[in-house]
Amino acid sequence: MKQFIPFIGLEIHLTLNTKTKLLSSSANGSNQIQSQPNRYANIFDLGTPGTLPVLNQQAINKVLLLGLALNSRANNKSVMSRKHYFYPDMPKNYQITQQAQQAILQGGYIPGSQRDYALHHIHLEEDAAKYHIKNTGLWLDYNRSGQPLAEIVTEPTFHNSEEVIDALQRLQEIAVLLQVSDCQMELGEFKVDVNISVSEDHHTISPNKCELKNLNSFKFIKKAIDLEIERQIQLINNKQVIVSSTLGYDDKHNRVYIMRAKESNKIYQGYIFITDANLPILNANKLTTESLKKQAHEFKHQYSILQTLDWTQRQHLSSNAILFRYFVNMLNYLSVEDSYKWLNMELRPIYNQTGYMRITDHELALVIQEYNNQRLTIEESRMIITTLNQSNAQSAQDLITQIQQQRSQNNAFVIELIDKLIQQEQDAIMSYKMGNKNIIGYLMGKIKKEFSHKYPHLVLDGLALHEQLKKYLSND
């Protein structure tokens, strides 16, 4: 049996989460794609004569940040070009994109779990409109027309589907955590085309490659790659020719099918390109500011910390840039374990409920330190965190001092409550003295209830109450 080596290259389209589109002032984003058709299409997006493109600086910054995090080189002569083809999803009948040599970023790699995966280049381009073919005709929705895409083109560096998935997961993590893309696959914000060929030795890559398109989940990507490698090996073993084709994956029957053969369709070959003279030639090297470099540098460090966590912890953190940022900032004050524990147990529920994180990491660290030194109860800590997340009218230090002061004032009231309780709960006290120490929880509950009835906005110091109650019960 002969040995075969698959060579796999990827083209990944990320939708950048900028405020506006790549070349026009129309709003950009996943909400916009899902909204009523053609609501977010201005005259430029519709290809109206006389309109001119204006390159979005935010999109440039985002793609540069991504490139720096992936160790790419900023190109000092980066040109926007027009790629011509006639189809109504491109209202100008050309797409504003970049050719490989003139792409804004060159080279780089995705850091994988076992090895790095080399990139060829990263370029910027505008997305096409959506279209639906119905029996009433061709229906067009230009909300997506002109959304900014970063196209990440890898070298044919992958040899199996596991490596591909590893790279895609890492890339998705990086893009989300850098906040350059939301990467929601179901909305088409993270699209992958896979080029596959099979060789008999390590040094020659077969020109007969097939391209898998329109894959919308990691699961399907993996399955489709495995099937396609198998199909190509079988064809070679049967001495059949592999025709370079564009393939689709049918998840219902778990099979790949040929959408079109590349040679037979001349329309898809030899695009005409021309430089778009309306747009400036970019010196991406100059556009890479110190602040971008610093951001990327810090990110790489933070990302390496993420790698030290276990799988579940990584999953929790890597899917949300805000929580991740928060996590790495907490590391300035706390250990990795403490940071993760607090973030996951206390902050994530608040974030999930409110959708925002307003409490600063510095204030949070202060609260946690007070807790660790047993100067705050868990309830008090939670209350301070919740309050700070809602408004910054008071500082963490103010709230801590207030609580600690009130605690001594409340002391008198608590003693009064305990006295009353001892009168009423003779049975429970007896039971305690008989050795049922757990009954103290019941007694504390009673006191807490009365206390919160009188001081609804205050938290009773559970630790102190516990101590005091014990003292009373043993004195009696």
């Binding site: 004569p49 006389g50 189809y87 100008k92 030899g270 747009l279």
Partner: protein
């Protein structure tokens, strides 16, 4: 010098803007049926804010400049009855300054060509002899101004489209530095070559308009901020001690009568203490070849959007998308079709290892360097704008050779009427380094002062 605008300002003050409007409307009724300068006329006068310097002055726009009012046809059957729905940046600026749109002027389809002919309304005629061609592609604008149907018109100049008809019709035509005036709302022909130009009777009037329409427009990334008197700051200063470059060999190749006109201009400049410096311009025939390779390639690209899908004419009888393209795009004027095919050819065909287009781009860069070297020794250049006067001769690809240089290098250029040959006007051209528009206008202003041919008709 007493200019038309100065005269109109007084008339508007004494007799009212409506009086001026009515006078121009009357001229249009009298002449336009024969001359076909306009694709559409705005008959509706509206009151305007009269406190600005140019308030109440009527203006015509070449019909590839988008206007909210009236159609923007580009002289094309594809855009017959096309409403742009917005004002080009220049139109908005002028509207804000109180000028009133009087009509849209005829042109070659999408400004491609120089005989102002198209399938939509036909050919514009020369105002002095309707058997003669008026030049183009901004021929409608030139005829409208020359025959006093409008005191000023805007055109677009991709390879001489403002200067060519201005020369033939005996008026002033300016193409400012590429990037001084926003192209937002101008239907593109060659994005790297196109520039809005102004057609007037007087240099000073054109400079005033340029001050209004120039400067930064966030919608056109090739523009930048300019001072508000950028074009007029040194207009009336004398031209003493200016170094004027002249390619004597080039002038010697002109017919004798034309040479004489240049001799007169040179003598005048010398009496003003300007210094004439002999220079050697780049090979103009090569420039022309380079120009067509770039203009047609960019033109090919810019015309792909005209498919009838989102705007303009749409054939509803198409059965599929290929037929939509076929039926709509076959409405292009024959010359435009030729240009599209040539452009696609230039972009795909390789000479050696480069496409014809990219060879032309390389040549273009070397041209910029050559011109830069020339400007080390001179302040501006005097050259022909065209080597003939109006005649029955029409469109020829070859006669743009004096005008395309300024478009390839992005430099400002102006043609001004200086004399007559066989009773037909003859103009000369000045060019200057990029962003030296004020200096170029200064020398043109002085020359026009000396050789004025213009008479103010409205009284």
């Amino acid at each position: 010098m007493y200019t038309l605008f100065e005269h109109l300002r007084i008339l508007i003050k004494t007799k009212g803007a409506k009086y001026v409007w009515d006078w121009y409307q009357e001229q249009i009724i009298k002449h336009d049926k024969n001359l076909k300068a306009f694709t559409q006329i705005n008959e509706q006068y509206h009151d305007i804010e009269t406190s600005y310097p140019l308030s109440g002055i009527p203006i015509a726009y070449k019909d590839n400049i988008c206007t909210n009012n009236l159609y923007t046809t580009c002289g094309s059957l594809l855009l017959d009855k096309y409403q742009a729905g917005y004002n080009a940046h220049v139109v908005q600026r002028l509207e804000d300054a109180g000028l009133i749109l009087i009509g849209k002027t005829n042109l070659n389809e999408f400004a491609m060509g120089s005989d102002t002919n198209n399938d939509l309304i036909g050919q514009s005629k020369h105002n002095l002899n309707i058997k003669y061609g008026c030049g183009g592609s901004s021929g409608g604008s030139a005829v409208a101004v020359a025959s006093n149907m409008a005191p000023v018109a805007l055109g677009t100049d991709t390879g001489g489209s403002v200067r060519h008809p201005a020369h033939l019709c005996g008026i002033v035509g300016v193409k400012p530095t590429y990037g001084t005036v926003s192209r937002y709302g101008i239907v593109s022909y060659g994005c790297s070559l196109d520039q809005v130009g102004v057609l007037t009777h007087y240099v000073q009037d054109a400079a005033e308009i340029l001050n209004i329409i120039s400067g930064l427009d966030p919608c056109d990334q090739t523009t930048k901020a300019l001072p508000s008197d950028f074009f007029t700051k040194q207009l009336t200063q004398s031209v003493s001690n200016l170094k004027v470059g002249v390619d004597k060999k080039l002038l010697a190749s002109l017919p004798y009568v034309q040479q004489n006109i240049f001799t007169e201009v040179i003598q005048y400049l010398q009496t003003q203490n300007s210094v004439i410096v002999d220079i050697s311009l780049p090979d103009l025939d090569k420039c022309l070849a380079c120009y067509y390779a770039i203009a047609f390639s960019e033109g090919f690209s810019n015309l792909t959007r005209f498919d009838g899908v989102n705007f303009g004419h749409n054939r509803l009888d198409a059965v599929n998308i290929e037929q939509v393209y076929e039926l709509n795009r076959s409405l292009f004027y024959d010359r435009t079709k030729l240009l599209i095919i040539a452009g696609a050819y230039f972009l795909q065909t390789k000479l050696g290892n480069k496409t014809i287009f990219s060879s032309a781009q390389s040549y273009r860069r070397s041209l910029c360097n050559k011109m830069h070297a020339i400007y080390k020794n001179v302040d501006c250049i005097l050259l022909p704008s065209l080597d003939r006067v109006a005649s029955q001769n029409n469109d020829s690809f070859l006669e743009d050779k004096y005008t395309v240089l300024a478009n390839l290098t992005g430099e400002p250029a102006i043609t001004i009427p200086i004399s007559k040959i066989d009773n037909m006007p003859y103009g000369i051209q000045f060019m200057a380094p990029r962003y030296q528009d004020a200096l170029m206008l200064q020398i043109a202003f002085n020359c026009q002062n000396k050789f004025n041919l213009t008479e103010i008709m409205i009284q």
